[in-house]
């Protein structure tokens, strides 16, 4: 019974926050509500005993991706008037896209692929069962090639992102930290010995 209460609570929070992401005018509020909906879906995954996926969702999406999202969104100078300007003009297109998406999702969820018409009771597995271990085993045996290909694609994406963000301008005046760190006192400072001028004391002040 407690499971059902928890499920309906987090399901409600998920639906509410996900729709508020779209409705809210302020993009910061939208981003924060998206964080909340990630949390709620992680909680639902926890109910399915998928603790690895649930915590990884929080770790990756909430802990890293959304931080960068917020980082960018906060920098934007948003004028709410111009944002609302095109509302009536884009309304027909928006409604068409929304109807199409709802239809597609309805097709997928109700079809045989999802087996959503056959309600399955979650098998209660002992506390020694490690979701992480099972996932690791299946990823590195049965789905090894797919996993490695996904890794290779991500590596290509990383390299592409780095090469795009590298500045190619010749007048770059950025300083090299390596040179600054390895610099020694002797590189910058020269102690010179020189004779004291002899006739200082003889001068009359």
């Amino acid at each position: 019974m407690i499971e059902q209460i928890v499920f309906y609570f987090f399901g409600g929070v998920l639906l509410l926050s996900a729709s508020m992401v779209v409705i809210m005018r302020n993009p910061i509020h939208s981003a924060l509500l998206l964080v909340l909906s990630f949390f709620a879906s992680a909680a639902i995954w926890l109910l399915l005993q998928a603790e690895f996926l649930a915590i990884t969702l929080v770790l990756v999406y909430v802990g890293a991706v959304m931080v960068l999202f917020l980082f960018v969104v906060m920098m934007l100078d948003i004028n709410l008037v111009t944002v609302r300007e095109g509302f009536t003009r884009f309304l027909p297109v928006g409604i068409t896209v929304a109807v199409l998406m709802v239809a597609a999702m309805g097709l997928v969820v109700s079809s045989d692929y999802f087996m959503s018409d056959t309600y399955m009771v979650i098998k209660s597995i002992g506390p020694d069962y490690s979701n992480t271990k099972e996932l690791g085993l299946i990823l590195y045996t049965q789905y090894l090639y797919q996993f490695e290909i996904a890794g290779a694609i991500l590596l290509v994406a990383i390299i592409a992102a780095i090469s795009l963000s590298m500045s190619k301008s010749k007048v770059n005046k950025s300083i090299s930290s390596e040179e600054q760190v390895i610099v020694k006192k002797t590189d910058r400072l020269r102690v010179i010995e020189m004779k004291a001028e002899s006739n200082i004391q003889s001068k009359k002040i």
Binding site: I2, I28, L32, V35, E51, F52, I55, T56, V58, L59, V62, G63, A64, V67, L68, L70, F71, M74, P127, Y129, S130, N131, T132, I175, S177, V181
Partner: protein, 371 residues
């Protein structure tokens, strides 16, 4: 002794309450919930007292390092007692101060930000094992849980910076966001090293796989990861020398410049709670947690047998907490581009290389760690 008190409370207080108030069907569940609440309190109250006295310790330690005395006036009942009453006086002062919400700020987010920064650092204590048996939630994915929760602390800082509607606060929030994302990756890789070495994500199992002696603890095979974890912890908690998010000489107080009274002190508590958390995690993952340092030493092992295991965990944690204060008194603040360089170009490559080394050690069953 704690167990006796706990048993007494659950037998003589909780059991009667549930039997009198509730129908028979719900009694067992309600009892479990109440017992869990008692356990949570028995962890959080000592943590919060430690937070209060950690601020006192910081002022004393830095005072002594700089040749001063530190707070020594406020005591109890007319005795100064080396200033032991100072944290309580500070707390009372901050409680009675007004919380000013700046005009043009986002009121709800402004109030929520300190709570968001304190909550994850307290929630992470749920999986910390104090002993072979004393742990609130002995979950399989404990390490992941801790990593996920420590990565959430940045939200309080970012939201505070944005909601304050102040340039300085916003600059602090931006600095903190970029810094924490950078160091979280190195921290995550260090934890992957621990995971590979222990073969488990459960914090209790991680400690149990270090049984043997001081030389069986993971600080030797994972030495670079140990150092990187602790330094990343310094950066994640925005402590000196990585405290550019506050940077009082540059941006006044950074993200919490607009906060006063209790709202400010919740940020303060979050910072210290995070430091304690990083310390206890370093002790658990790299220094054998509750294991005695005299394990395997012929005479001393019997000599120190009477010491409860929790004492060793607390002693190790205190050492790491002292390191936080020592670093603050010793090092000048890093320049921002050098912070970024250290995180991305030094720590992440080292951790990746060391992951390969650890994997090789594990695969070849190198004794004495991975038999």
């Amino acid at each position: 002794m704690l167990e006796i008190v706990y048993q007494f409370i659950s037998q003589n207080v909780l059991l009667p309450i549930t039997t009198i108030l509730l129908p028979v069907d719900y009694q067992a569940q309600a009892l479990t919930v109440l017992q869990t609440v008692i356990k949570i309190f028995s962890i959080l109250v000592p943590v919060l007292i430690t937070v209060a006295y950690f601020t006192y310790a910081e002022r004393k330690v830095i005072g002594f390092i700089q040749g001063r005395i530190g707070p020594n006036r406020v005591g109890f009942f007319g005795f100064s007692l080396w200033g032991l009453g100072q944290p309580i006086a500070d707390a009372v002062k901050l409680l009675v101060k007004e919380i000013i919400v700046p005009t043009g700020s986002n009121r709800s987010l402004f109030i929520m930000a300190p709570i968001l920064s304190l909550a994850p650092s307290l929630a992470a204590w749920a999986v910390i094992p104090f002993d072979d048996t004393k742990v609130l939630a002995n979950i399989n994915a404990g390490l992941l849980y801790v990593l996920a929760l420590t990565s959430l602390a940045v939200y309080g800082v970012i939201i505070a910076g944005w909601a304050s509607n102040s340039k300085y606060a916003f600059l602090g929030a931006m600095r903190s966001a970029a810094q924490i994302v950078a160091y979280e990756i190195a921290m995550g890789f260090a934890l992957v090293g621990v995971l590979v070495a222990a073969g488990s994500l459960n914090l209790g199992d991680i400690v149990n796989s270090q049984v043997g002696s001081v030389f069986h603890w993971f600080w030797i095979p994972l030495f670079p990861l140990f150092i990187i974890y602790f330094i990343s912890g310094l950066a994640e908690t925005n402590r000196a020398p990585f405290d550019v998010a506050e940077g009082e000489s540059e941006i006044v107080a950074g993200f919490h410049v607009e906060y006063g009274g209790m709202a400010f002190s919740v940020f303060f508590m979050a910072e210290y709670a995070n430091m304690i958390l990083i310390s206890v995690l370093s002790a658990i993952m790299f220094c054998g947690g509750w294991l005695s340092p005299f394990q395997g030493v012929p005479i001393f092992e019997e000599l120190f047998n009477w010491v409860p295991p929790m004492f060793w965990l607390l002693a190790k944690t205190s050492f790491f907490m002292f390191l936080f204060l020592w670093f603050r008194a010793t090092f000048p603040r890093y320049r921002y581009d050098q912070i970024m360089r250290l995180g991305w170009k030094v720590f992440i490559p080292i951790t990746i290389v060391w992951l390969v080394v650890v994997s090789a050690l594990v695969v070849t069953n190198t004794s004495p760690w991975f038999n």
